[in-house]
Amino acid sequence: MPTVQKSYMYEMIRSELAWVVGEEHIQTTDSDKLGHSIDYYWVPELWHDRGEKLTPPDFIVHPATAKEVSEILKIANTHNIPVIPWGGGSGSQGGALPIYGGIMLDMKRMNKVLSIDPVSMTTTVEVGINTQHLEWEIEKAGYSTMHLPASIACATLGGFIAHRGTGVLSTKYGKMEDMIMSLEVVTPTGEIINTLPVPRHASGPDLTQMFLGSEGTLGVVTKATMKIHPIPESRKFHAFLFKTMHDAMVAGSRIMTSRLRPCVIRLYDEPETAKLIKKVLGIDKQGAYLVFGFDGYEKMVDLEMEQACEICKTLEHEDLGTEMGQSWWDNRYKFFYPPYMFHMPQAFGTLDTVATFSNIEKVYWAMKNTIKENFPQATFIGHFSHWYEWGCMLYARFIIDEPPKDPHEAIALYNKIWDMAIRAAIKEGGVINEHHGVGLKLGRIMKDLYGPAYKVLQDIKKVMDPNNIMNPGKMGFQGKGA
């Protein structure tokens, strides 16, 4: 990294950036650098908590157009400086951290809804838009994006695209990769390109899908066309309590494999039911809590709901009714606010894994046993969040109430837990992960996860980004110092 703050080279680059975006859209204050040095990854949070020095970006730049992004990337190529796209900073994988300094490309100024097409039910937007603002604007027009993640208010659409994020209604409306029609992307060398306008075609491999999940390593997404949906006439919920997580899993998987189409299913294992469902919803029960919902025309909702309840009733159960299901929906975001969310000084991590129904319980037990046997100081809890026709996502978490005081020891322990738990999950057919992405946190796992196929990803990166300026050191790709 050639820039040393206060050197003439630093000032040269600053001037060049200012010519592109205007002086007022470059920040270099200590205040801004601090906010951009920490995302939602536990490690920089710990680093801050223990008073350690963080790595800040050199410049924080707020572009307004794809053209400006393109000019910035050209400057970065000339000077060989890293560029790190930043949306809301709510990513949990350290994906937006400026680990080598450089230009932080804060995308939030690109926040306009450009058009709504009520005939095709799509909207075209600048992806720096906060997703709650987006949803509000689309709702005002009479529709919904149906992208309702817990971090709806924390993140940008670009961040969700970059991480293949997902919302609570994913089971019916899909993940980001199902929601996006097409993208405008500025490639690492500064070309502004558009992917094909529809997501179903036979004109070669799908470029849209290649950029989805690329975490700012293959370019900067500037615009997206995404699907929108009518506001459903009705949305209803129902909850059941099962004696064991296994029974609840059988019920949930039967609902999915019967090809009913819930908009959401969520299943909490016994420890999480005892801990979080009690704390947040006030439901104090022993067993595994399962909740599901349907939406659409009321008649169809009622019919599907009846069928799903019938499936649950074939197993040993306690029917918690609609109220305890609705209460979950009403409080679905509450889990993520302090003090309900885990917080410092606790060490915690979300071992997000996805697998087929045949494998998902094996994955759960492999991770749980690994943690239990090797890290007695850690608690393991989990719920199953996003359900598909073939399997579901395990939102497992480990929590250590009192991690080591020494930050180096704490991080070493944290990394070890991640490593062992994830490798155990991969062995059982788990994929890391379903919606949080790779970032800095899981880069080292990528080679093992993909096997020889990882070289294909590396080759794409090398060709597209010859100077390795785009978010170096993330997703297991080469770092800037190497």
Partner: protein, 324 residues
């Protein structure tokens, strides 16, 4: 340090993103530092090492906050992110580190001279005495709220003492306050004098009107976020015949252009202008929509940066309705 009393909010907000979409300043600067998380991280650094209080960037960020409290209002646990900023401002002032512009403004705010005139059993503090025929009028400046939010606690107390003296000398038993920031400041400050907001008084007095106009009510930071969503202004406008529509896309954002910081425009005119531009962008039909605000501050800033705004205060709206 005052911030040490706010340790719960520091710990909650420093790593939390859940209300970032509601910070009015963050929504126009797009800076991470202009969100409750960004500010709490800074305050946490100051808490860990007092030396950081000398950092001019940090100080500037603390004064840039619009103190809307929309974030706290939204927060499931209502962590006092606004109180955190007020606490650090006090620490800055107590350490003699307030920026020159802030000190100068504080000096100006200390120069007050409160006068009571007219006849009546109530005392009215606002700009439209014609709506309160049985009331005396008190005038003379900000009663201490502006100094308080700038972090000048002692100076605020001194100004308030002058205000209090004038109020007590008026012998009135009810003080009717129009500007929401002053209402918030005064409401619990008197033992034997009842303090009410002007909208509460006008609502109880009743408005007879045949108006049927559509209008957009811009919530006041002080009446909504600091006073648990005082219902009187909306009820008053509805009883005066206004059909209220939702402004913008949601009912959570603050559109009061720095009302929470009382004198925001005096310190950050360029940001107040941006806040006003955002209000313009969010309006359905900005050229024609009738916008009503409880705060004369909000009205004056909207008008200052865009005279095309069709904005009036709640009191003006009532007067207009009465005229119909």
């Amino acid at each position: 340090m005052n911030i040490k009393k706010c340790i719960d909010a520091i710990n909650a907000c420093r790593f939390c993103f859940m209300c970032r979409h509601l910070d009015p300043v963050g929504n126009v600067t797009f800076n991470e530092s202009d969100t409750p998380r960004g500010r709490a991280l800074i305050i946490d650094k100051i808490r860990m090492d007092r030396e950081n209080l000398n950092n001019q960037d940090f100080i500037n960020t603390m004064y840039k906050s619009a103190l809307s409290a929309a974030n706290r209002y939204h927060c499931v646990s209502h962590y006092d992110e606004a109180g955190l900023v007020l606490a650090v401002r006090k620490d800055i002032v107590e350490a003699g580190l307030a920026p020159e512009a802030v000190k100068k403004l504080a000096k100006e705010l200390e120069h007050v001279d409160f006068k009571v005139e007219g006849k009546g059993s109530n005392l009215y503090f606002g700009e439209m005495p014609e709506l309160y025929p049985d009331s005396k009028l008190i005038s003379g400046g900000d009663p201490g709220k502006a100094l308080e939010v700038l972090g000048f606690t002692n100076e605020s107390k001194n100004v308030f003492e002058k205000f209090k003296k004038a109020v007590i000398n008026s012998k009135c038993e009810t003080l009717i306050v129009a500007e929401p920031s002053s209402y918030d400041f005064l409401k619990n400050k008197f033992d034997n004098i009842k303090v009410i907001h002007s909208s509460e008084y006008l609502l109880s007095a009743g408005v007879n009107s045949q108006t049927q106009s559509k209008a957009y009510y811009l919530d006041s930071d002080y009446l909504k976020n600091y006073n648990d969503n005082l219902k009187a202004p909306r009820e008053l406008l509805e009883s005066a015949g206004y059909k209220l529509a939702m402004f913008g896309t949601n009912q959570e954002e603050s559109y009061s252009v720095g009302e929470g910081a009382v004198v925001y425009d005096k310190l950050y005119p360029e940001l107040a202008k941006k806040l006003a531009e955002r209000v313009w962008e969010q309006a359905d039909n900005p050229e024609t929509d009738l916008i009503i605000t409880a705060s004369s501050y909000t009205k004056s800033i909207l008008k200052k940066y865009n005279p095309a705004f069709n904005v009036i205060t709640v009191e003006e709206a009532v007067l207009k309705a009465k005229g119909n």
